[in-house]
Each structure stands twice: as C-alpha cells, then as structure tokens.
Amino acid sequence: MSEAVEEKKGQVTTYIRQYGVLIALAVIFVIFAAIEPAYYSVENILTIIRQASIVGILAIGLTTVVISGEFDMSFAAIASLTGVLSVFLMGRFYIPAIPAWIIALIAGVAVGALNGFIIVYLGVPSIIETIGMMTVLAGVTKFITGGASLYYATFPDIFPVLGRAFVFKIVPTPVVIFLLVIIFFVIVLEHTKKGRYLHAVGGNPTASTHVGIDVKKIKFQSLIFSSITGGLGGIMIGSLLGSAVPGMGEGNLIPGISAMFLGAVFLRDGQPNIWGTIVGALLLAVLENGFVMVNMPFFMKEIVLGAVLIISVTIVAVLKKGSIPGVKMV
C-alpha cells in the first residue's frame, strides 16, 4: 500500500476511534427512532437527557478523580447517603427543603474529605479505600432508615424541584443542573490552573512535585469534587423518588463508571475527559430509554449495557492494533 493511502487509512481509523462513541450514539438513536417514532419527540429527548443527567453528574465527578490519578468507587454510595438523609430530614423532622439539602450535602462532602484524608494522607490505595467506604455507607443508610424504605406523606413544597420540576415549562430541572455542572467542570478542568494541576498530578506526580505542585492537596481536592457531585446527584434522586431507599444511588455506580470509561477510551485514547463522559452518559441513557420504548425485557438492559462497554473497548483495541488503551488510573 502506498504511503499516502496508508496515511489516509490511519487518519480514518483515528477518526473512528475518537468519534466512534458519538457516531454510535447517533446510529443507535436513529435505529430506535425508526422502530418507535415517539422516540424522537422533543419530550422524549428531554427525558433521555434527564435520565443521563444524574449519571452524568456523578460520572463527571468520577472523571475528575481519575484525571488526578485516583479512583472513587464510593460516589454512588455518597449519593445514597445524601438522598436518604435529605428525604429523612424533610419527611421525619419536617426540616425545610433547602436546609435539609445543605445538611445532606455537607454530610456527603464530609465523606469525601474522609476519603481524601485516608487515601492521600494515610496512603491507602484509592480503589480499596473507596470500596470500603461504599460498604460502610451502605450500612449507614440502612441505619438511618431503620432498614426499610421510607415514604412520607408531606414534603416541603419546594421539594420536588430538583427531580421533577421543569424550567421554562419543558426543560427538566435535572437537565439544567447537569448543564451547569458541565459548564463548571469544563471551565475548571480545561481553563484554570487548578484543572491544569489536576491533569499534571494524574500524568506524572513526580514531575508535578518537582514543579512545586502540592500533589496531595490536588488529589484531596479531586476526591472532594466527586463527593460534591455524588451528593448533588443524591439529593436530586431523593427529589425524584420522594422516598428514602437505602440503596437509591447504587444503580448509578456501574453506569457512572461505564460512562467514564466509554468517554476515556473513545475520545482521547485512554485519557479520561469531561466531553467523553458526557457522551458516554448520553449513550447509556439513549440505550436505556430505547429499551423501554421498544418494550425490551427488563433483564436485557444489563446484558446490553455490559456488552456495550466490552464491545466498544474491543473496537478501539482492534483499531489500535495491539495496544488496548488502558484508562490511566491507579
């Protein structure tokens, strides 16, 4: 093959590798729309984005942690904690919504700080520590609810705003919050010193130290970030469900991790990044929503979601011929 053709081929495969997930997103959307026309109504699209929002928010926090070179398995459990706590405070103690949300968020950040302290200052590997924390939180949420799911009759008026209300009558609030979170993180990660340092620390902690960056502080802060997004997601779920269910955040753990991996593997050849995570979250939501629309049996959802993750990584591996882009993480 001549040099020019080879180069072109290289460019095309790179293109597919980088934008593949976006292409997949469009293709899947079109397929579902063809099967069920209601799929591509404005309403449904917003529903899809709303479904993607909570996972997306959680996954963005996770992405930040992974960029800095650590991992966080506890973000979904933090969501459970804040969800349960906020609903519990409002329903049982009639605490008004905003204070309840603030208290819940503080609890979430406290967990993040604890994670940060144990991981960064005591030196425990982050995967292990956050799995441990996740388990502890599972117990804690059960403790709060006494083991059962709690449903309350009266809630503050403002309560459903986060989960069920609409801005401008049609845009679900979660979507707006998602957009705000995206804007915030994109600005911080790509356009501020803090973001630059997060990338540096994840890329080469030794070189970062030599340049005068406080590696521990940065990693600690990244874990705080993910506990904030986790906590935010949790209170949104609480507002959506209207009840305190001990495992209410857990369902987002695998989708959140998957969204991050999809984004990393596709868009930047293994480097976790915000845009990729967003597209990954949307892809997963498109699939989920589509399953409901076409009445796919309930068990298929997990099979397909798992398969999507495996297949997408395989495609990248095949295209890259021999080297599977390992997502950079501790």
Partner: protein, 512 residues
C-alpha cells in the same frame, strides 16, 4: 535454541565469515524514511559498533533484525540463509538476542528468576523447580565470571546489576548474535570495565556482538569495526583504528564538531550555596561542599555512592539530619516551593519518569512552571497569553527545541529534545541563581549533548548561575566543569579543580 556459533579461536576480521548480512533494507513510517537501502555485514568474532544521532535508524535496524518489524524492501541473511521474521519469537529461535535500552525486568522477581524468565525448569511439567533454576543461573554466572546477586528481587538491585541480569538472560542459550542497545547509559566507569571484560569473554566464545551506543569513548575502546548511520543510511564502516573520533563524529552529524565541549571561561564569583557537615537520614554524612555563582561544579560518583540522594538533600526533597545548608549567606531549610521562589531549580534525572508530563502536550510541558503568568482571577487560564509565553520559552536563544507544533505530545520528540524541554522549562526564568542538573545528557546524541554543554557554560558565564552538574560520565565533567567533587559511600571523598583534572585520579577517588 542451539547456538549458531561454535567455540572458535579469534579469526582475523577481514576473513571472517558473515554471520549477518543485510541487503537493500528499507523501512518507511508515515512521514519518515527510517531505513534507506541499507547494506550491512556483521562478521564472526567481531564487536561491531553502530553509531549515529537519534533518528538515524539504529533502533529501527535492531527492530528489524530481531523480528519486531518487517522491512518494506530488502533482505536479511543469517549465516548465508535468508530469513523473514514475522514475529520476535522466530528471531529468538535463530539465536538472535537483544538487550534493550530500557529495562525489561520483572521488579519483584529475583535475579535468577528474571534470567530464566520464560525458560523456567519444571518438575514433571507442572511445578517450578526453583532449585534447578537458581543452579542454572549460578552456573551461567560462574561461566562468565560475573558476580551479581541472584536471590534478591531486581527492584533492590543497582542499575549496573540490573543491566548485568539482562545480559545474562540474553546469554542463557548461547546466542549467535547479541545486540546491546546503549548498554552503558546507566553505568559508571568501573561498571563499564566489568561489562567490557564480559563482552570480551563472550566474544571468544564466537558470539557476534552489535554494540549500539552514543558513547564515543566506549565505542572506540571495545569495537572491532564501526558503522555510522545518518538519516536512515549507512554512511561508512571502518575498522577501529582506521577512523578517529573526529572523523566518526563528522560522519554522524555531517558538520564539523571538532570539539566535543565548548570553551570554558572561568567566571566564578561569590559563594551561593554551602553545605557544612550535612547528613540525611540515609547514608549521606559529613557533606562539605560549596558552589559559587558563575561556576559549574561537577559531582561524580559510582552507582550507589549517593549522587541523587545528595541532590535530593540539597533540594529539600529529603530532610536534613545534621549539619546545615547555607543559601546566599542564610541558613536555609530548602523546600521545593521556596526554592523555586528563590530561583533555585532542579532538573531531575530520568526525564520520562520525573520530568515530563506524558499526558499533556508540548506547550503545557514548557510553561507549567510559569502558570501564574497566564492565569487571572480564580486561576482562569488565558490561552492566548499561554501560547505567547510558551512560544517565548521554546525560543530561548541558546536552546533549539525541535518540534512540529505546540499541541503535539512530548512522546514524539527525540530524547535530546525532550531533555531540552525539561531544561528550558527552568532556565527561561528571568533569574536562575542556582541549578542542579542530574544526568542531563543521559541517552541523547552527540549533537544534542554539545548543545546542553553550551547551555551549561552559558548559564554560568553569561548569567552568573551556580550549576551543580551531576553525572556518571567523567569525560563530560572534565570537559566543562570548573571543579569536581567526588562522592563515595555517602560522603565527599575529594575535590579537584580544573587545572588539576586527571581522569585516573578522579576515578581512584570514586572507587571503593
């Protein structure tokens, strides 16, 4: 895996049989012609050196010979027989072994286990026979008269010992052809001598050795014939003795580098750093030394003597147990952030591991130490200002970083240019009062080395910087330093001034 060579008496090089013959070898990569119609022959009983600048095609050639890459054109003949490797295992089968520049060892396995990696003896094909494994490794060591620990994990060995383990692994089954790629880049003089005696010993067994190196001294010491590559072409092959260093370098760079080192103009003034009775919590003790402004001070020592530990102590990366460090007449407790504020910088060894951010592009690698200059309120980055600043840094007058564009990944730069990135990141600050450089010329070619030496002298002579130049290459220290400290077993064993520089004496001070 039988050897393709037999025990033989040394045969005069001219009449020796061709073990490896390469004809018309060509290899293209997107945008680069790595090998251009290369002809080469390597004869029985010789040590054949291959030299050339980075990018000249040496690694590509080795990769083709060892089966890692398939050529686009041309053929390879082994002992007269044409070979076409599609997989490195095939080359291994034919008795071709290579010791790479980067270590390919499993850190937590022992020396013996690494040597026998892939060839482990088993009991009844199921269980590993550790006793036999150790015995086999020991036998090999005895045969080659090499002394390395076999029973400790390689992660705890010195660079020289790890090097030896890799060579032993390559020699396990008497290869016909052994390729050594930059085998001495992490070794000191004494280690190199040991390596060379091993090479001579295996040469007498009939094993043919291809020796790829940037070190002129070593090439001219050990090789029988020398081949020069430049821009993918074989330029010339001559017997050692028919070509002198100058001619060799001229072929390599195609320009006259009649001197390897820039001129040294003494320009020392007052003392900027002083250590008095300094000790760390490790094995450094009784360190007394001083560095003056405008002076290039060398630090030489064998592997394990404490060079990098001293750099870390000086820079505040490890705490002071005893004694004091005086910076600009004030007793100081160095710490990275305060050092940087006071224009005291460190360029660490091992640029890939400690200096470069592989996940960030060239621009970010260049400007990271200046980040406050292009960020505003809340740390927001002004990209246009960043781009302008990065451009200024890359254009630092004495340093030409060769790159395609600022947004490229640093991985794609040559070793020499990567090193320049790490250097210019610091020296482009307006003031550089004190600079520690740890092995700044490791793994870069002759041309780039000269540029680094020029920079170092420029810093001292034109900018009044005090430079501590740590190196395991005595010639370059002798070439451009004003003074050299010798470190041995954790303490300074001697100090030599330029007028009295003598290789043997310095080496003597360094040896146990």
């Amino acid at each position: 895996m039988e050897s393709t060579g037999e025990k033989e008496v040394r045969v005069p090089v001219k009449e020796a049989a061709k073990v490896l013959e390469i004809k018309g070898l060509t290899k293209r990569f997107p945008g680069v012609l790595a090998l251009d119609n290369v002809d080469l022959e390597v004869r029985r009983g010789e040590v054949h050196a291959i030299v050339g600048e980075n990018g000249a095609g040496k690694s590509t050639l080795c990769n083709v010979i060892t089966g890692l890459l398939a050529p686009d054109e041309g053929e390879v003949l082994l002992n007269g027989e044409k070979v076409e490797f599609t997989h490195p295992a095939q080359a291994l089968e034919k008795g071709i072994r290579m010791v790479h520049q980067e270590r390919n060892l499993v850190p937590f396995l022992t020396g013996a286990q690494n040597i026998l990696l892939g060839e482990e003896p088993q009991i009844k094909s199921v269980l590993l026979d550790e006793k036999k494994l150790l015995a086999r490794a020991q036998a090999l060591c005895d045969e080659l008269q090499v002394n390395v620990p076999l029973n400790i994990p390689v992660s705890r060995m010195s660079a020289a010992q790890r090097q030896m383990i890799e060579i032993l692994r390559a020699l396990l089954y008497k290869p016909g052809l052994l390729i050594l790629d930059e085998p001495t880049s992490s070794l000191t003089e004494a280690d190199v001598e040991l390596l060379f005696s091993t090479i001579n010993r295996i040469k007498q067994e009939g094993i043919v050795i291809i020796f790829v190196s940037h070190s002129m001294d070593e090439v001219f010491t050990i090789s029988d014939r020398i081949t020069v590559f430049r821009n993918g072409r074989r330029i010339v092959t001559k017997n050692n003795g028919e070509m002198d260093r100058g001619e060799c370098i001229r072929h390599m760079v195609n320009r006259d580098l009649s001197r390897l080192f820039p001129e040294v103009k003494p320009s020392a003034s007052e003392t900027i750093l002083k250590l008095e009775g300094a000790a760390d919590f490790g094995f450094l003790h009784d360190i007394n030394m001083h560095i003056r402004k405008g002076e290039v001070v060398g630090l030489y020592g064998l592997v394990g003597s404490g060079r990098t530990e001293l750099a870390e102590l000086l820079y505040g990366l490890s705490p002071l147990r005893d004694g004091k460090i005086v910076y600009e007449d004030e007793e100081a407790t160095p710490g990275i952030v305060s050092n940087i504020k006071q224009k005291f910088f460190l360029i660490p060894e091992d640029r890939r591991e400690k200096g470069l951010f592989q996940n960030m592009n060239l621009r970010m690698n260049l400007d990271i130490s200046f980040i406050d200059r292009f960020t505003r309120l809340f740390g927001v980055i002004k990209h246009r200002e960043e781009a302008a600043l990065a451009q200024k840094i890359a254009d630092y007058k004495n340093l030409k970083v060769k790159y395609t564009e600022m947004s490229q990944k640093v991985d794609n730069l040559s070793g020499g240019n990567q090193q320049k990135v790490v250097i210019v990141r610091w020296i482009s600050h307006e003031e550089v009062k004190l600079l520690i450089m740890d092995e700044p010329t490791q793994g870069i070619d002759v041309g780039a080395k000269y540029e680094v030496y020029t920079i170092i002298r420029h810093l001292a002579e034109d900018r009044g910087t005090g430079v501590l130049f740590i190196s395991s290459e005595l010639p370059e220290l002798i070439g451009i330093c004003d003074r050299i400290y010798v470190i041995k077993e954790g303490t300074i064993s001697g100090e030599v001034i330029r007028e009295s520089f003598d290789s043997e004496e310095i080496l003597h001070l360094a040896l146990k």
